[in-house]
């Protein structure tokens, strides 16, 4: 119970930070202050907070769980690919979003799209799709909170209560502190999980008598040797996964966060240090998840390995219900916590649990972003701000924060396990598919609002199609696939244990190609915005215009 008490103490600290930010604001109720911290974040808070915002339950628990089941491929899939793609997108797009926000006063991406393409309700459609895609991301944080608190308390805190506590704490400090409180909490959390992540590696390594012996055992055992390679993953799948980090800049909480920097120079350190932060977090998580396969003396891990072995050996004879039950038993989302419980002393397990909790609770930015979008893109846009004033707008944003947290909690209670899969299949693929919106808005004079609408509709339709397909066709056992659509003997669409493939690629590849094509074709067939509008975004010799001298 001691680790759980340490985690509760940690939750109290972050709550205090959020409320302190609220008191420091002195009751000022301006929208830009609450939602964007008055565009005043310094470079270190900007770096650590932005990184912390991107590091979620998905990163710590999901990546270790994925590595437990799939091995070293996890780091290549999401770690090193993010290390390249995310800083490049911040460099190319984030800086331009910041500059436009500064010039035109934008507080959300939808405001930019509405202004750039002179569209109203199409902007609302963009808001609706972005908001819908963001909710699963918030849900996985609540699920991660429930899993973490339940695990560090040895089951004394039930999953439903852990999720409830996390949702309530996040809701409270976002409610009071807004962007300033969220940024401070994220900075504190990032420092915490960077520090304790390193401590976890060292402590577990010492406790098991060094990692080399464990890795030698894994490499020599036929049932685990493949986890040290990528032979069980196709190069097509690996290649298409590299598109997933493109979603980062399209997540509203990231693009909105780009608007909070005091100066554009704050991006410099973020662009350089982001890959190093990825290395410091993802590599240890992947490595620990992999190494967990050698820790058969940990009871919880041993039962997972047994469940996985039964799945592999008897997959042909198992019923769907038995398969689902075994998949649940084999899921590795809590392996890091199980290792800490077994190998670390209670006080250290508590501190490390708090570090994990820090990552799990990164849903704060998403909740705030959703609230910002609702109040700016819907409430203010449809006349609420001019009718009721800025103070009511901020209060509306706060009420929305409470509603989002409640909805996420209710969904988290119903959602199936497997944090990693849920996040990737819905939120990440969808936001990557929306990328042509941002590219076209920033770099292509010829893009139109109808092209933007086509991208949004395509994203909604393809995401719905995948959700329906995956609901209709249950996942096959590990190591097998179910053909869904075959043409001339070629399996075009297949249902896999982890999701859906299109010609062996992740669905995100055809989805992104389709949305890019639609943006180009539809824009070419429809009228452009007026010249005056284009001149604001692409003035002669403007730096925002591609090809302009630098």
């Amino acid at each position: 119970m001691i680790p759980a008490l340490v985690v509760f103490l940690y939750l109290g600290v972050v709550l205090y930070i959020g409320i302190f930010a609220f008191r420091r604001a002195g009751g000022r109720e301006e929208a830009e202050g609450y939602f964007l911290a008055n565009r005043s974040l310094g470079q270190y808070v900007f770096l650590l907070s932005l990184f912390g915002t991107n590091m979620t339950a998905f990163t710590i628990l999901g990546s270790a769980g994925h590595a437990f089941s799939n091995g070293v491929v996890t780091y290549g899939l999401m770690g090193s690919s993010s290390a390249l793609v995310i800083p490049v997108t911040l460099y190319l797009f984030g800086t331009r979003v910041w500059a436009l926000g500064k010039r035109f006063g934008f507080m959300t991406p939808v405001q930019m799209y509405r202004d750039r393409w002179e569209c109203g309700h199409i902007g609302t459609a963009i808001f609706a799709v972005q908001a819908t895609l963001l909710v699963p991301y918030i849900v996985i944080a609540v699920m991660g909170g429930g899993t973490t608190l339940s695990a560090v308390s040895g089951g004394a805190v039930p999953y439903w209560f852990g999720g409830l506590v996390v949702a309530a704490v996040v809701m409270s400090y976002v409610f009071f502190g807004g962007m300033q409180g969220t940024a401070w909490v994220n900075t504190f959390q990032t420092v915490l999980f960077l520090t304790f992540g390193a401590a976890a590696i060292v402590f577990i390594g010492v406790s098991i008598g060094g990692f080399p012996q464990a890795l030698e055992r894994l490499a020599d055992a036929p049932e685990t040797a493949a986890l040290l390679t990528r032979e069980h993953v196709s190069p097509r799948f690996f290649f298409s996964y590299m598109l997933i980090p493109l979603s980062s800049i399209m997540f509203p909480h990231i693009s909105i966060f780009c608007l909070t920097a005091r100066r554009m120079g704050q991006f410099r350190k973020t662009v350089i240090f982001y890959p190093l932060c990825i290395l410091a977090i993802w590599l240890p998580c992947t490595f620990l998840g992999l190494t967990a396969n050698a820790m058969t003396d940990v009871p919880g891990i041993e039962s997972k390995i047994e469940a996985r072995a039964v799945l592999a050996a008897e997959r042909e004879t198992l019923s769907p219900a038995e398969t689902a039950e075994l998949q649940r038993a084999a899921a590795g989302d809590d392996v890091i916590i199980l290792m800490l419980e077994h190998y670390a002393p209670l006080w250290l397990a508590g501190l490390l649990g708090a570090g994990i909790m820090a990552a799990v609770m990164a849903s704060d930015s998403q909740i705030l972003a959703l609230s910002t979008m609702f109040t700016e893109d819907v409430f203010a846009y449809y006349g609420g701000k001019s009718r009721f004033g800025s103070a009511v707008q901020v209060q509306t944003g706060r009420v929305f924060v409470v509603l989002i947290a409640l909805v996420a909690y209710v969904i988290a209670l119903q959602a199936p396990p497997g944090i990693f899969g849920i996040a990737v299949q819905y939120a990440f693929s969808g936001f990557t598919t929306l990328l042509p919106l941002l590219v076209a808005a920033l770099f292509w004079r010829g893009s139109t609002k109808w092209g933007a609408l086509a991208v949004v509709v395509w994203t909604a339709v393809t995401m719905t199609a995948i959700a329906v397909l995956q609901a209709a066709v249950p996942p096959p056992p590990p190591g097998t696939v179910v053909p869904v659509w075959t043409v001339a003997g070629v399996d075009v669409v297949t249902r896999t244990p982890g999701g859906t493939d299109v010609l062996g690629y992740m669905p995100v590849l055809p989805m992104l190609l389709g949305s890019s094509l639609l943006m180009v074709v539809v824009s070419r067939l429809t009228p452009k915005p007026p010249a005056a509008t284009l001149a604001r975004y692409f003035p002669v010799e403007s730096p925002l215009r591609p090809g302009s001298p630098r």
């Binding site: 070293v72 491929v73 780091y75 290549g76 770690g79 090193s80 290390a83 390249l84 490049v88 460099y91 800086t95 331009r96 910041w98 500059a99 436009l100 500064k102 010039r103 035109f104 006063g105 507080m107 405001q111 509405r114 569209c119 109203g120 990692f211 080399p212 464990a214 890795l215 490499a219 390679t229 990528r230 032979e231 190069p235 290649f239 590299m242 100066r263 554009m264 410099r268 662009v271 350089i272 240090f273 982001y274 890959p275 190093l276 990825i278 290395l279 590599l283 992947t286 490595f287 992999l290 700016e376 203010a380 846009y381 449809y382 006349g383 001019s386 403007s542 730096p543 925002l544 630098r550």
Partner: protein, 84 residues
């Protein structure tokens, strides 16, 4: 020319992520415990940080900031009635 070279460097790193040459290899275990494929991608992340430093040092879009700072203060984004 310099920007083209930097863009090519980013493209090259993108391709180097597909390290098919280590696809089926677990050994050597670098430092005695890191499978070679995992070590490669760790080193890859360090190389990316180096390239990002070069981008920031030699191709930073300072004109964007100057443009944003020098622009006159603009009206907040409009409401629904102001556009179709």
């Amino acid at each position: 020319m310099r920007n083209w070279l930097l863009a090519a460097a980013v493209g090259a790193l993108y391709l180097l992520h597909q390290d098919f040459w280590f696809w089926d290899a677990a050994r050597p275990l670098v430092f005695g415990f890191l499978p070679i494929g995992l070590f490669y991608h760790g080193a890859y992340s360090l190389a990316v940080a180096g390239l990002m430093w070069v981008l920031v040092r030699y191709a930073w879009p300072t004109h964007l900031e100057a443009d944003a700072e020098s622009a006159p203060a603009s009206e907040p984004p409009g409401e629904a009635g102001e556009r179709s």
